[in-house]
């Protein structure tokens, strides 16, 4: 018996929609097995993980708070990934966006005018863009692999954050804790509802709409998809390779930067050595689970946010390690990638021996 893939002549529209759902189903099944193996009642554990957080208002609000940065970063990444640029350093761009956005509240904390907040958003975006410009520049100028450079910069960004909160930006009145001063109200993002949810979620929704419109209706979106699928045809259409590398990195860098700024300004309220539970990496999963489609990314972002809350909830309810969250996230991405194969291929089981296998032993 062996598995054989048969190429479909066109993309399967059904599978395009179904694949993430199947992947989620498989993840739940695999998760149940995992829970059972660890000696928990799988039904109980899955309930605590996936359902319980949705039963109270506090958790739902928390869900949206966490979904905000995930969606915002993932929408930016989708532009990058669609154009076949592998920016996997969104975590670093998020960090630098947070640092740049914190300049006003930390260095110029007396300035509390009405322009403070818009300036902070702008700084956040610029910070992310500056950090993303390094891999973009190196790729367009020298052909350097952007995967490795963007990732290396994540570590550098984290050391920079660590240096600042332990050194020059440390709160002088903070009893030597490695933290910045707590942001002034004028430097805190406007909140919605009970006070946890902040404007960052609105930024994410705006980004979703803008990118959805761009990708589906405009020449720029067309260009991104052509360059991603077949750069040679893109050149034939008169599109520029360099231009699209820069565009993808700038959009994803700006969005990640804004997300970082919104996180410190809206959720944390100060700079600390750790400001992200890996949003920049989880957003990669969100982007793929959402099929690089802004609307899909909204659902995927909510689901991945649920995996964070679910991890905490399962920890409280059953004493499970919250590390399980990351395992779920990893499994989900694996299943999504595997199921995406079904969009372009049919799977068949064939009973004969492989055709070209081991040919030479007998020669």
């Amino acid at each position: 018996m062996r598995l054989e893939l048969e190429k479909r002549s066109e993309h399967s529209a059904l599978m395009t929609v179904l694949s993430p759902v199947v992947a989620l189903g498989l993840t739940v099944v695999a998760g149940g097995i995992l829970f059972a193996a660890m000696g928990y009642n799988p039904g109980e554990a899955l309930y605590a993980f996936f359902i319980e957080p949705l039963t109270n208002q506090w958790s739902i609000e928390e869900l949206l708070v966490k979904a905000g940065p995930l969606i915002l970063i993932a929408v930016g990444l989708s532009v990058c990934f669609l154009s076949n640029n592998w920016n996997i350093g969104a975590e670093g761009q998020f960090t630098i966006g947070a640092l740049a956005g914190s300049m006003i509240p930390i260095l110029f904390h007396e300035y509390t005018g009405p322009m403070a907040m818009p300036l902070m958003v702008l700084m956040g975006a610029l910070g992310g863009m500056v950090w993303a410009s390094v891999p973009a520049f190196l790729k367009t100028r020298f052909g350097t692999n952007e995967i490795l450079t963007s990732l290396m910069l994540v570590y550098v960004a984290q050391f920079l954050l660590d240096y600042l909160v332990r050194g020059p930006w440390r709160d002088p009145d903070g009893f030597n804790f490695p933290e910045s001063r707590i942001f002034d109200d004028a430097h805190t993002l406007m909140t919605l509802g009970d006070g946890r949810l902040h404007l960052g979620f609105v930024f994410a929704l705006v980004a979703v709409f803008v990118i959805w419109f761009m990708l589906s209706q405009t020449l720029k979106g067309f260009e991104i998809k052509v360059m991603g699928e077949t750069p040679r045809a893109g050149r034939f259409a008169g599109f520029s390779h360099r231009g699209i590398v820069w565009f993808g990195f700038m959009v994803s860098g700006a969005f990640a930067g804004i997300a970082g700024m919104a996180e410190v300004s809206g959720s944390i309220g100060q700079l600390t050595p750790v400001i992200s539970p890996g949003y920049g990496f989880t957003a990669i999963i969100v982007a793929f689970l959402g099929r690089l489609n802004p609307i899909g990314i909204v659902f995927a972002g909510l689901l991945l946010a649920l995996s964070y809350i679910g991890g905490e909830s399962a920890q409280v309810a059953l004493g499970l390690s919250d590390k399980i969250t990351r395992v779920f996230q990893g499994m989900l991405l694996f299943f999504v990638l595997a199921c995406d194969t079904l969009i372009l291929y049919r799977i068949r089981l064939i009973k004969s021996a492989p055709k070209a296998g081991g040919a030479h032993e007998r020669a």
């Binding site: 598995l3 893939l5 048969e6 190429k7 592998w86 996997i88 390094v134 190196l138 020298f142 052909g143 350097t144 692999n145 995967i147 490795l148 450079t149 990732l151 290396m152 910069l153 570590y155 550098v156 050391f159 920079l160 660590d162 240096y163 332990r166 050194g167 990496f281 990669i284 999963i285 793929f288 390690s321 590390k323 399980i324 969250t325 990351r326 395992v327 779920f328 996230q329 990893g330 499994m331 991405l333 694996f334 990638l337 595997a338 995406d340 194969t341 291929y345 492989p354 055709k355 070209a356 296998g357 081991g358 040919a359 030479h360 020669a363």
Partner: protein, 306 residues
């Protein structure tokens, strides 16, 4: 001499995990597969190595466990990219994310536990020779394995028929298939070898480098190993030089910190990552060399029907 010895010893210790992971990835990439999941395979190798050592008391069993853990991860990667023809870049990332998650969960019970260090293989007579003996011949088994692997991989790739087949598959999988070679089989073996080496590299971290389990202890070394393969333009001997150069940079950075150079420690810690970027830029500036050495099928999925 005596001041130099400890520095050289730490350079060897810092270089060995990079060398192990990179030599495995070199074979994987030579067969045309880009496995970006080195970091994930390494960290799972690290946690399994530590766990089995802690449970059995034998660091050698731990080494074997780390190797199989890396291979298990590689098998998963192989199934997706080779059988299901998924995107290799995305799947490699998935492998890293999954590996970091899995290791965190598996290792939770071992946090803070004292580890057992892989013993130095004392070679009677030889290990006592000043300098040469005390530095080069007083190492644990994994150091010797890593060096032997470089030589073996060099011989295998360029002097044996099987090595020729791997290079052929990486250069043109369609032709290799047409000649009757099983592209899938060759690539599976190469991916598994890469996984085994990455697992060993992880095991080295948790059994020698810092004999304990710390979450995320690979700290980007898997990614640096990937960069090293590019730096070495897919050649084993250059890889040896590259890995030791990098080991030296990261060690000197420690010593500079200890010596109290006025720079912030974080800047020094960021040095290996910055150095990686610089090295990648230098290498990619020389397009002619890179292009001529890159396996032509690297990262391209193979399906026999076309």
């Amino acid at each position: 001499m005596s001041a130099l010895e400890p520095i050289l010893l730490t350079i060897i210790t810092a270089s060995t995990p990079l060398l192990l992971a990179a030599i495995g990835e070199l074979i994987t990439e030579r067969s045309g597969v880009l496995n970006l999941g080195v970091e994930g395979m390494m960290i799972v190798g690290a946690v399994m190595g530590f766990a089995i050592t802690a449970m059995s008391g034998s660091p050698y069993l731990g080494v074997v466990a780390s190797m199989f853990a890396g291979m298990a991860m590689a098998l998963l990667f192989g199934f997706l990219t080779l059988n299901l023809m998924t995107n290799q870049v995305a799947t490699g990332l998935a492998l890293t994310i999954l590996g970091l998650g899995l290791s965190g969960m598996l290792g939770e019970a071992f946090i803070g536990q004292p580890g057992i260090k892989l013993p130095v293989l004392h070679i009677p007579g030889l290990s006592d020779i000043p300098f040469i003996g005390t530095v080069l011949l007083s190492q644990d088994i994994l150091v010797y394995i890593s060096l032997a692997l470089v030589a073996a991989v060099y011989y295998f790739l360029f002097k044996t028929r099987a090595g020729l087949v791997i290079r052929a598959v990486g250069d043109n999988h369609t032709s290799a298939h047409a000649l009757g070679y099983s592209v899938l089989k060759v690539r599976y073996l190469a991916v598994l070898f890469g996984g085994a080496c990455s697992g060993l590299a992880g095991g080295y971290l948790s059994l020698v480098y810092t004999p304990q389990w710390v979450e995320g202890m690979t700290a980007g070394r898997g990614w640096i190993a990937l960069a090293l393969v590019v730096f070495a333009s897919w050649r084993p001997l250059r890889l040896l030089v590259g890995a030791y150069l990098f080991g030296a940079v990261s060690v000197l950075q420690f010593h500079a910190q200890a010596a109290g150079i006025g720079l912030p420690s974080q800047l020094m810690s960021a040095l290996p990552y910055l150095a990686t970027i610089v090295v990648l830029v230098i290498i990619s500036r020389n397009q002619a060399v890179t292009r001529a050495n890159t396996p032509a099928c690297l990262g391209r999925p193979f399906s026999p029907d076309r």
